[in-house]
C-alpha cells in the first residue's frame, strides 16, 4: 500500500509538469483503484468532452485498471465510460454520474504446493477468466488548482459471461486528475 501511494504521488508530480502544457490536452487521471476498497490496485484514465459547456458536460472516459486480492487473484480492467459532469457547491467541486462497460481479465490461483522440509511454496497453478463488467459510478471531485482536481469514485458493477455465475462488484477509486 505504501508503495502504491508513493507511485501515485510520483505520478501526480510527473503529470503536474504536463499540466502546464497549453489548454486542450485531455486530462489524465491516476488513482488508487480497488475491489471493496481493500483489494488494492491502480487505475489510469483520460477524459474527452462529448457535449456541453465547460461546467456541465457529457464526457467519454477510457480507463485501464489493475487490482489484486493478494494470494488469490489479480485483475486487469479496460473500461469505457460515458458520464454527465456538473458543478457542485461552486465551481471548485463537481459530481459525475457515469455508466461504463469494461472488459475484466482475472487470473486466479487454483493450487500450489508446500514443501514440508523448508515451508517454501511453489508449483502455482493459475486459471484465467474473462468477464464483461457493466458499471454505474458516482464521482465526486474537487479542484485544488486550476488544473488539478482530486476525486473519489465508488462504482457498482456486475461480472458477466465468466465461467461461473454473475457476481456483483464494488469498486472504489481515489485519485488525482491533471
Amino acid at each position: 500500500m505504501k508503495q502504491l501511494l508513493i507511485i501515485l504521488f510520483l505520478s501526480a508530480g510527473f503529470y503536474q509538469a504536463g499540466a502546464q502544457e497549453p489548454p486542450g490536452r485531455p486530462p489524465v487521471s491516476v488513482g488508487y483503484f480497488s475491489h471493496y476498497g481493500f483489494q488494492p490496485g491502480l487505475k489510469i484514465g483520460t477524459m474527452f468532452p462529448l457535449a456541453g459547456d465547460t461546467l456541465r458536460q457529457w464526457v467519454f472516459s477510457p480507463q485501464l485498471g489493475f487490482f489484486t486480492n493478494p494470494g488469490d487473484d489479480t485483475n486487469a480492467l479496460f473500461n469505457l465510460e460515458v458520464g454527465y459532469k456538473k458543478p457542485k457547491r461552486g465551481k471548485h467541486a463537481y459530481s459525475q454520474w457515469s455508466a461504463g462497460l469494461g472488459y475484466l481479465h482475472q487470473s486466479k490461483l487454483q493450487s500450489f504446493s508446500i514443501h514440508l522440509g523448508n515451508g517454501n511454496t511453489g508449483d502455482r497453478q493459475r486459471v484465467g477468466d474473462n468477464f464483461l463488467l457493466p458499471t454505474i459510478s458516482y464521482e465526486y471531485g474537487w479542484a485544488t488548482h486550476r488544473k488539478i482536481s482530486w476525486y473519489l469514485k465508488p462504482a457498482l458493477g456486475i461480472r458477466l459471461l465468466g465461467r461461473n455465475e454473475h457476481s456483483t462488484m464494488l469498486l472504489l477509486e481515489f485519485g488525482i486528475r491533471l
Binding site: 475491489h35 471493496y36 476498497g37 481493500f38 483489494q39 486480492n69 493478494p70 494470494g71 488469490d72 487473484d73 486466479k108 490461483l109 487454483q110 493450487s111 500450489f112 504446493s113 508446500i114 514443501h115 514440508l116 522440509g117 523448508n118 515451508g119 517454501n120 511454496t121 511453489g122 508449483d123 465461467r163 461461473n164 455465475e165 454473475h166 457476481s167 456483483t168 462488484m169 464494488l170
Partner: protein
C-alpha cells in the same frame, strides 16, 4: 532452525469469516485482507530445552496425540500412545474409494497459512511436497425461509485452503506415523488416571495398567465432561468449572455423489445474519470436489452445533440420506433425487470415543485453566487447548508441541 518460508496470503476462512464478522459486525466484511494479514504464524519450533528423561504416556491418538508422540520421538524420549478406538486418527479420518480422491470425513480445511504443515513436521530433512487448493468459492447461495438466494457477492470475502489430492489424515499418516506407529496400543479405552504418586498410572477397560513419568491427555472434551475417566486425585474444582464453560456439540459430515452437478460451490443455511452469528453452529452444503482433479460430482454436508442435531439424531443411515435428499430436492427442484448415486456418512456424535464435533463456546476464561497441568504430571493437548486457533486440526497439533515443551523443560 531458521528457514526461508514462502507465505501464501489469503482471504478469510470459514471460521474467521464467521468469528470475525460476529465480533466486528458487518463492517468486517470489508476488511478481510487486513484481518488475515494479522494472522500470526511460527515458521518453525525452536529447539526445546531437555531436562527430562523419563517415559511419557499419551492418551489418545488423534492429531494432538500423534503429534506429541512424533515430537517426543524427535527428542529421543520414551513414550507410549494409548488409543481407545480400533484405529488412530481421532477426528482426522479419511475414506478412499468413495470418489477418485480421498475424502476427509473429519477435519478437512486448513484454517491457517499452509506453511503450518512444514512447521508441524519441523524437520528440514523432509523432502516432500503437498499440493494445496486455494479454496476460493465463486458461487455462494443462502437457503433461507425455503428460498434459495444467490449471494455470490459475499464469496469474494471467503477463502481458505484444502488438501488437493491428500487429506489431514494422510498428512499425519504419511509424515508422522511411520516414526511412531509401533508405539500405539489400540482398542484401549482409558478408565482411570492416577497421578497421586511420582509415577502416573493409567488403567484401561481391560484393567491393563500403563505406567509413566508424565502423561499427555488428548481425549476429546466430551470424555472429560462426561467423567468417563476417574482421576486420582480428582480434577480440581477450577478445572471442572472451566469444563462447564465450554461444550462440544453434535457434528456430522455426509458426502453424496450425483450424476450431475446442480449445486453451487457453497450453500449456507439461514440468512446472512444467521451466518454471521454462527456461535450456535453452522450448516453448509459444499462442493467437496472443488479444485480436485476429478470429474465426479461430490456434494458435502458439514454441520455442527444446533443445526446438526436434526441429522445426528436420525436413527438409521437410510432415513438420514432420505431426509437430506428431500431437503436438497426442495432447494434444487427435485434434482437431488434424480441424480443421486451414493453417499457416505460420518456421524461424529455417535462415535463412541469422540461424541461430538469440536469445542464451542467462549473459552477465553476457561482455556487458561484447562491448559494447566495436574501437579506437573498430567498435561493436556488437543483442539480445546490450542495455543491460538482452538477447534482446528493444526491447533490440536500445536497444543501437543506446547505440552511436550513443558514436559521436556522439566
Amino acid at each position: 532452525m531458521n528457514r526461508n518460508k514462502g507465505k501464501n496470503t489469503r482471504t478469510m476462512d470459514r471460521k474467521e469469516f464467521i468469528k470475525t464478522c460476529s465480533a466486528l459486525g458487518l463492517g468486517a466484511y470489508l476488511f478481510p485482507s487486513l484481518l488475515t494479514g494479522c494472522s500470526p504464524e511460527e515458521d518453525s519450533y525452536p529447539e526445546f530445552d531437555v531436562n527430562f528423561s523419563g517415559k511419557v504416556l499419551i492418551v489418545g491418538a488423534g492429531a494432538a496425540g500423534i503429534t506429541a508422540g512424533y515430537v517426543l520421538n524427535q527428542y529421543g524420549i520414551d513414550f507410549e500412545i494409548i488409543e481407545a478406538a480400533p484405529v488412530y486418527g481421532g477426528r482426522v479420518k479419511e475414506i478412499s474409494g468413495f470418489a477418485d480422491f480421498p475424502i476427509d470425513l473429519g477435519g478437512e480445511w486448513i484454517h491457517t497459512d499452509a506453511t503450518i504443515l512444514s512447521t508441524l513436521i519441523n524437520d528440514s530433512s523432509v523432502d516432500a511436497k503437498i499440493d494445496i487448493i486455494n479454496y476460493s468459492p465463486e458461487t455462494l447461495y443462502l437457503w433461507n425461509n425455503n428460498k434459495l438466494k444467490k449471494r455470490n457477492f459475499f464469496s469474494n470475502f471467503y477463502g481458505e485452503l484444502k488438501f488437493k489430492s491428500t487429506t489431514w489424515f494422510s498428512f499425519f499418516d504419511n509424515y508422522m506415523m511411520p516414526a511412531i506407529g509401533n508405539r500405539i496400543t489400540l482398542n484401549s479405552p482409558v478408565t482411570a488416571i492416577d497421578y497421586s504418586t511420582d509415577k502416573v498410572r493409567v488403567t484401561n477397560t481391560n484393567n491393563d495398567i500403563f505406567e509413566g513419568d508424565r502423561l499427555i491427555l488428548t481425549v476429546p472434551l466430551t470424555i472429560l465432561k462426561q467423567n468417563r475417566i476417574d482421576f486420582t486425585p480428582a480434577l480440581p474444582a477450577s478445572k471442572i468449572a472451566a469444563l462447564d464453560e465450554i461444550y462440544m456439540p453434535d457434528g456430522i459430515k455426509v458426502f453424496m455423489e450425483f450424476s450431475e452437478r446442480f449445486y453451487p460451490d457453497i450453500t449456507y443455511e439461514g440468512g446472512l445474519a444467521d451466518v454471521i452469528n454462527g456461535d450456535e453452529g453452522e450448516k453448509i452444503y459444499y462442493d467437496a470436489a472443488f479444485g480436485k482433479d476429478t470429474n465426479r460430482n461430490i456434494l458435502g454436508l458439514f454441520s455442527v452445533g444446533s443445526p446438526s442435531t436434526r441429522y445426528t439424531s436420525i436413527a438409521t443411515d437410510e432415513e438420514l440420506v432420505q431426509y437430506i435428499l428431500n431437503e436438497l430436492d426442495e432447494m434444487f427442484d427435485g434434482k437431488a433425487s434424480r441424480h443421486y448415486i451414493k453417499h457416505v456418512t460420518q456421524n461424529w456424535s455417535k462415535e463412541p470415543y469422540i461424541g461430538g464435533s469440536y469445542t464451542h463456546g467462549d473459552n477465553s476464561s476457561a482455556a487458561p485453566i484447562l491448559k494447566e497441568s495436574l501437579d506437573g504430571k498430567v498435561y493436556f493437548a488437543g483442539e480445546t487447548y490450542a495455543p491460538e486457533d482452538y477447534a482446528t486440526v493444526h491447533g490440536a497439533a500445536q497444543s501437543a508441541y506446547v505440552a511436550v515443551e513443558q514436559i521436556l523443560k522439566g
